[in-house]
């Protein structure tokens, strides 16, 4: 019988996408599958010892000018409230963030049935986060630091 990894690779390829599969932990049967869709690279992690569980991830680069902004972590936390099924992790000293969804559909076949919806959900969450991070229209975030410091000093 084909491995979990092979079944998911076959599915993604049958949907038209090239897949780059590599082992993350051969002893534990953990693999990473990379593919592109709509200009974005996604990673799917498969677990041979837990064939009903998967993760879907994608990374978004934060533009240089927005990296030093203090509120990026808060922005991710706020977007996380809207997308509680998706996790956000800041990486590379604030240069990018990774959006991840842990999936437990129960089997590879069940995973493939909702695969593109789940990929779409991760993309939607990540796109919302990067949109909010680069949003220059709100003054609240800029003022927040000062508001907090005024409150602390009981002005």
């Amino acid at each position: 019988m084909a491995s979990v990894r092979e079944r998911i690779v076959q599915f993604i390829e049958s949907e038209g996408h090239r897949v780059d599969a590599s082992p993350l932990d051969e002893a534990e049967g953990v693999s990473e599958l990379l593919f592109r869709t709509r200009g974005q690279v996604f990673s799917v992690t498969t677990f041979e010892q837990n064939p009903g569980a998967f993760t879907i991830s994608t990374a978004y680069e934060i533009p240089d000018w927005a990296r030093e902004r203090g509120q990026n972590v808060e922005t991710l936390a706020r977007v996380n409230d809207e997308f509680p099924d998706v996790a956000f992790v800041m990486a590379h000293d604030g240069g990018l963030f990774v959006t991840t969804s842990d999936e437990a559909p129960g089997s590879p076949e069940a995973f493939t049935r909702t695969f593109w919806e789940r990929v779409g959900r991760v993309r939607e969450a990540g796109a919302r986060a990067i949109e909010d991070i680069v949003d220059r229209t709100e003054s609240k975030a800029a003022a927040e630091k000062f508001i907090n410091s005024f409150m602390r000093s009981e002005q």
């Binding site: 949907e15 038209g16 996408h17 090239r18 592109r36 869709t37 709509r38 200009g39 593109w116």
Partner: protein
């Protein structure tokens, strides 16, 4: 004449997609899938400046043709690039981007955008009809 669709094949490779060729005496043709949906690209041998990228769908039996025409008209007014057309007898819906190019190489950097708008237009078309149905 050199193969006009080589640049499109490269664009598809840039997008991480497989494709197949199905050329004949009349035209150069590419077929490919993205997220499981089927698309095609056509360049006619006797009209080397014309390039068409498209996807074809079947109109579900429960959808009224006049409702579909209304939605297609709205999308044709609103959407950039994409033409939505109904073949009423066959109950087929065709979403196409039709371009006049000196070389398909011009399309390569914009291919992702064109694919997105094709995909979004088809999704909006069927979403709108399902809402009408409900």
């Amino acid at each position: 004449m050199s193969d006009p669709l080589t640049a499109i094949e490269t664009a598809l490779e840039d997008e991480g997609l497989f494709c197949t060729r199905d050329d004949d005496d009349e035209a150069y043709r590419i077929a490919f899938k993205s997220e499981g949906d089927r698309y095609f690209v056509v360049a006619y041998r006797d009209d080397p400046n014309f390039l068409m990228i498209g996807s074809g769908w079947t109109l579900p039996a429960e959808i009224d043709t006049f409702d579909a025409l209304d939605v297609a008209n709205v999308l044709n007014v609103r959407k950039k690039f994409v033409k939505t057309a109904l073949w009423e007898e066959e109950r087929d819906v065709l979403f196409t981007v039709e371009l006049c190019v000196n070389s398909p190489e011009e399309v390569r950097p914009n291919f992702g955008r064109l694919l997105d708008v094709l995909r979004d237009t088809a999704a909006e078309f069927f979403d709108e009809l399902r809402e009408d149905e409900a």
